[in-house]
Symmetry: C2
Subunit: 284 residues, 2 copies
């Protein structure tokens, strides 16, 4: 594991690292924010943040305005990259932004040529937490959140692994990828045309199939340009009703798909996770 | 004036505009954040933010994490671009990052070919405030701040125009540009080799020459990679002592030149300006 850069921030530290990914078989980059006073004697819980299409580990750390509240709460944040990358990693033949590098969709690909490197589900759920817990002063307590493609990833990972995460939240998630263009392109490409294979990576499907007990919080802007065609939060509501699972979905008039939306409500999501992680919640 | 984009943020609005600059004789871009409830019946004061080398109007709005506090305080923020731009605007012959487009240094250039467009001092002090006050629900009350090259700009503009700004602050400013490589390159290029012409754009010189009454706040990281060679905050301290001008300079162990540093302390600067603008100061 190699340190790329380090910045003091809000009394804590923001660091970027690269390491050789075992699950993804390529060099991977991630960022970690450690709040003040995190130490071996005072380990802190971790919020994993999954970013959206075209993003890297940097977008959230630079633009979400989350570090002040994380510092106050005593919460670490880990932001992985959004896909495997590198000259040896296959990419979308048309260099599209919504498939291939920068668009891993947090799945384990089964189709050639993607299946060699595109194992982001294993990377995020197993390899990265093990690495973080081995090298940083953190507890094993975890929560997960994300935006758009990363909101999809957070919901899927939280719903499938409630033993590993205390709470899950999402901003503008791709809620029902089996039923939207972004999701259909990605899932058919990574998993093949048999849409039964897609269900394990579809939050609305997972939420509908049984009652879930993990706390769920979703934020969505009504002026989001991708709302109707790609995001479909109503599918989440219908699924939660079907399985009698509690879900909080906050719809916000006038807000779009940008980081200005995320920044406007990130503190409330950090407080939500902090409350489930047993941290003392402080005012925004 | 043409709206480029608009985002809801913290109950207010972040908008980018382009317009034909009179002082700079080219199309100019700026961003404005209007807090909630700003209206003709409830006009708000404005903080002008001047960015550093290579930046545009976007860096501060995306990365500083300032909009939550600005929203709470009821403070508008205006961020101009850092230079004239466009195919007709001369640029550094070597495409250097520290001269020409993206590096206007907030001066009125007197030397050809720069003198036609590089009039950022007039643009920031006269043209832009007049435009803002004509088109947005703001009072005439102004404060000014900035980072690095923009910290230099804010200090120079505030010290030379105390009748127009109630307070001035800076992060990691180029405090004594007559005595550092960045400043010498820019001032000699825009103003010519006669260094007597540079003094009007040198904060340390302006601060030393007479007692000033405008409130001054400067933030500086001790781990800033440009501290010793380019920034020289000790020159500000010596100048303030010489003229018996009150100056608050906060030095921060471990902090660098990045936006992680700005974000860590921006709320305190907004509160500082708010107190001088007559706004009710709220907790961070």
């Amino acid at each position: 594991m190699e340190l790329i850069s380090e910045n003091s921030a809000f009394g804590g530290r923001h660091c970027r690292y690269r390491h050789q990914g075992q699950s993804t078989q390529c060099e991977m980059t991630f960022a970690v924010f450690l709040p003040p006073f995190a130490s071996e004697d005072n380990p802190v819980p971790v919020l994993y943040w999954l970013s959206g299409l075209t993003c890297t580990d940097e977008n959230f750390m630079q633009k979400a305005g989350a570090l002040k509240m994380a510092s106050k709460l005593g919460l670490a944040i880990v932001a992985p990259d959004t896909s495997p990358r590198g000259a040896d990693v296959p990419d979308d033949p048309d260099n599209a932004y919504d498939f291939g590098q920068g668009a891993g969709f947090y799945v384990n690909a089964t189709q050639a040529p993607w299946s060699q490197h595109y194992k982001m589900y294993d990377y995020v759920t197993e390899e990265l937490p093990a690495l973080i817990e081995a090298h940083f002063p953190v507890t094993g307590d975890k929560a997960i959140s994300g935006h758009s493609m990363g909101g999809h990833g957070a919901l899927v990972i939280g719903l499938r692994n409630p033993q590993d995460y205390v709470s899950v939240s999402a901003f503008s998630p791709i809620a029902n990828p089996s039923d939207c263009p972004w999701g259909q392109k990605a899932l058919s490409g990574y998993l093949g045309e048999d849409s039964q294979q897609w269900a394990q990576y579809d939050a609305a499907h997972l939420l509908a199939e049984k009652q879930h007990y993990i706390p769920l919080l979703v934020e969505q802007g009504r002026a989001d340009e991708f709302l109707a065609q790609q995001l479909k939060p109503k599918a989440l509501v219908a699924a939660a009703q079907k399985s009698d699972t509690p879900l909080t979905l906050n719809m916000h008039e006038g807000y779009d798909h940008s980081y200005y939306f995320i920044a406007s409500f990130i503190d409330e999501h950090l407080q939500f996770h902090a409350s489930h992680l047993g941290l003392a919640v402080v005012e925004a």
